[in-house]
Amino acid sequence: MPHKTFLFFIWPSLLAMILFIALPIGSVAYQSLFIEHEKILIEAKNCGPFGCTSQVSVDAEAMARLRAEQPAGRFNGLGTYTNPTHLATDEIADIVATSKNFGEIRSRIMNLPFYKALIFTLAYTFIVTPLVIILGFIIAVVVNSVPKLLKGPVIFFSLLPMLVTPLVGSLVLFWMIDSRGIIGAMLQSLFNDPTLSLKASPTLTWLTLFTYGVWHSAPFAFVVFYAGLQTVPKDTLESAMVDGASRWERVRFVTIPYLAPLATFIALMQLMDNFRVFEPIIGFSAAASATSLSYLIYNDLRAAESPLFGSAAATSMLTIIGVIILLLPVLRRNWREFNRKT
């Protein structure tokens, strides 16, 4: 395609991408370099229903003048990125210098909020993604062999977890695994342990979140694989049958290689999605045991009375960098294949 035609076709989406993706990311990156102005405090006698005290408050008018002069705040460079709630470079140097052994280094680093969130995010991404691909593939193969009459209803029910809004889906499961809920009570009687609770221990909470993640995303993999299965060449399958390949051998040597590019596609999407895991942490009230990078951003913006925009922006940029690092191997492979073909 000549470059001119290509440009002609691409410009509307290019414009939309610049307006709605590139510019906001640019503005977030810019914000992450700034912190708020130094607050001018005044001390005065304040009175309320419970008596009078001498208290400090912010001199709002002086602050308004400062903000009018420099709306973005004070330039802080990469200071927010390296502070204790993000990459914590000083703290890590200190931990490495003062710890006795590797175990202590590890546990002390894992206590830093950013790394605590990162380790859960990575664990979630790398456990849920492969399981989603495998489970999605299995469901697709099974559904594909279901009699035609049942196919519609089976497909519909297999898709349900994906149709439910993540927050609602996680809340539904959260109530079901409550010790008074149907799953929670069943597990208790199954293991004969009235104190068993999936919400109580961090390990079980992680497992619950992983299970939820697989439950929620498997239908996506299933849909993609199912569509792919319809295009697997029948004659290759038939010749494999003539050669005496068993059902398993046909799946292993014909279907799987044929669907491999689809698996790459699903892996790509799932790595991106799972790295941004957020809703289940809210839905399962799991913040005590698991936090993710997206949760940190949410916390900076919503938990405090005054949002910390710089901190949230820095975490957002680090998340974007994380996604890029994660996708690099997959993208590189695609690039190589592309070059081989041309």
Partner: protein, 412 residues
């Protein structure tokens, strides 16, 4: 589902109040737009403010738990989306920091004869808010259960643990205590309450420098950890909303909970009437040999936006005067501990009043308190789960607070 429920309740309230709209507040014209939190006492106030609506006076309301996140952007626009922001001790701070609310002295002089001096919230000599109710956490207990087992109403944390132990040993309840220990805002509120009971302060006076008393803070954390030992193992997922079902199911006999929720626990239409009948209230227990109730006192009040016309501001003030009128209180005596003149405490108010009389301390109305609250909410759970020491938890809190306070410009 809750949304449709809320919407239909709001709609019903709207229709009901429209029917009663004959009460003329004497406002000539103007637009009153109220933003508030979502609980029954505020519904009562807002409904009464809405009675001022006439052909020329528009009164609308938005009652939502998201009010804290909405208020700053909504009042920053000019004209502001809301003319009235109903706030509490903590949520007035961001509005003042950004200079979004106006002094009320002029309106108080003109239209505020019904107000008592204690209702006027002065900041730097100017009235910035009108308080109308007090709130605090206090002890909820099952009178019937305690009496059956020969237990006195606990006045200290040690007595509370002894009571819980006795109930557990007698096989009455395995997890007799319940409280909102969900990490985040709830857990931090519990820590702040208990720490205030030690009589110590959070900050160096006049600065944003964190200066928690280490020994007192550790004592508080240890008491909180002991609390969790008598709670349902899922305590880390229980917020304030999760308390009542547990209580109504008869699974707990001791609870530290909000005064504003007390009315519902003993209401005649409670789903478990026998439990409601056995529920009583007392001051928060004291800690560490002291006698201060471990509770922070809160007020709820209203503020008027700065970025609106003077006409709307005056109309808003007058409508809210009707909202917090003694007539409103006469209709809703149980809904809150009112600060309005002529208030007679009801059985639901016993706990908050006991806190007040016991000398409980107000929640600090400091510009940087919210950041400490967040830091506490994020960093105490691991200690309570037994994953780290109290010292480590406190040093994590300090690190998180210092980082946030530096970014917000309070510390260097």
């Amino acid at each position: 589902m809750t949304f449709t429920l809320k919407a239909s309740v709001a709609a019903t309230a709207l229709i009901a109040s429209a029917g009663l709209a004959s009460a003329d507040c004497g406002i000539e014209s103007g637009s009153v737009r109220i933003l508030s939190n979502d609980f029954s006492a505020l519904h009562a106030v807002n409904d009464w403010a809405q009675k001022c609506a006439t052909d020329k006076v528009e009164v609308t309301k938005n009652e939502t738990e998201e009010h804290k996140n909405i208020q700053v952007p909504a009042l920053t626009t000019n004209p502001a989306t809301y003319t009235v922001a109903v706030v509490a001790t903590n949520s007035i701070v961001p509005l003042m920091n950004d200079n979004l609310i106006r002094p009320l002295d002029e309106y108080v002089a003109k239209w505020g004869q019904q107000l008592q001096d204690s209702q006027k919230v002065y900041v730097d000599g100017k009235i910035m808010a009108i308080a109308f109710m007090a709130n605090a956490q206090h002890l909820f207990y099952r009178k019937d259960v305690l009496e059956e087992n020969g237990i006195e109403v606990p006045k200290t944390y040690d007595e509370m643990f002894a009571a819980a132990e006795k109930l557990r040993e007698a096989g009455v309840m395995q997890t007799p205590i319940t409280s909102s220990y969900m990490p985040g805002w709830n857990l931090a509120a519990e820590f702040v309450n208990t720490y205030l009971g030690t009589g110590k302060d959070f900050f160096e006076p006049g600065t944003a420098k964190l200066a928690m008393d280490q020994d007192a803070a550790i004592k508080v954390l240890e008491a909180m950890k002991k609390m969790t030992e008598y709670m349902n193992q899922d305590w880390a997922t229980y917020d304030a909303n999760a308390q009542k079902p547990v209580w109504d199911a008869g699974e707990a006999a001791l609870s530290i909970n909000w005064g504003s929720r007390a009315g519902a626990y003993i209401a005649a239409d409670n789903p478990s009437p026998e439990i409601a009948a056995g529920t009583a209230f007392a001051a928060s227990p004291a800690i560490g040999g002291g006698n201060i109730p471990t509770a922070a006192l809160w007020w709820d009040g209203f503020t008027i936006a700065k970025n609106i016309s003077d006409e709307d501001a005056e109309a808003s003030f007058r409508a809210m005067m009707n909202g917090i009128s003694p007539e409103m209180m006469a209709e809703n005596p149980d809904a809150a501990v009112w600060l309005i003149e002529g208030y007679q405490p009801t059985p639901a108010a016993v706990g908050v009043i006991a806190d007040l009389q016991g000398g409980a301390r107000p929640y600090p109305m400091l510009p940087y308190m919210g950041m400490l609250h967040t830091a506490l909410g994020d960093n105490l759970a691991e200690f309570l789960q037994g994953k780290e020491s109290a010292e480590q938890a406190l040093s994590d809190v300090t690190a998180a607070y210092n980082t946030a306070a530096k970014e917000a410009g309070y510390l260097n």
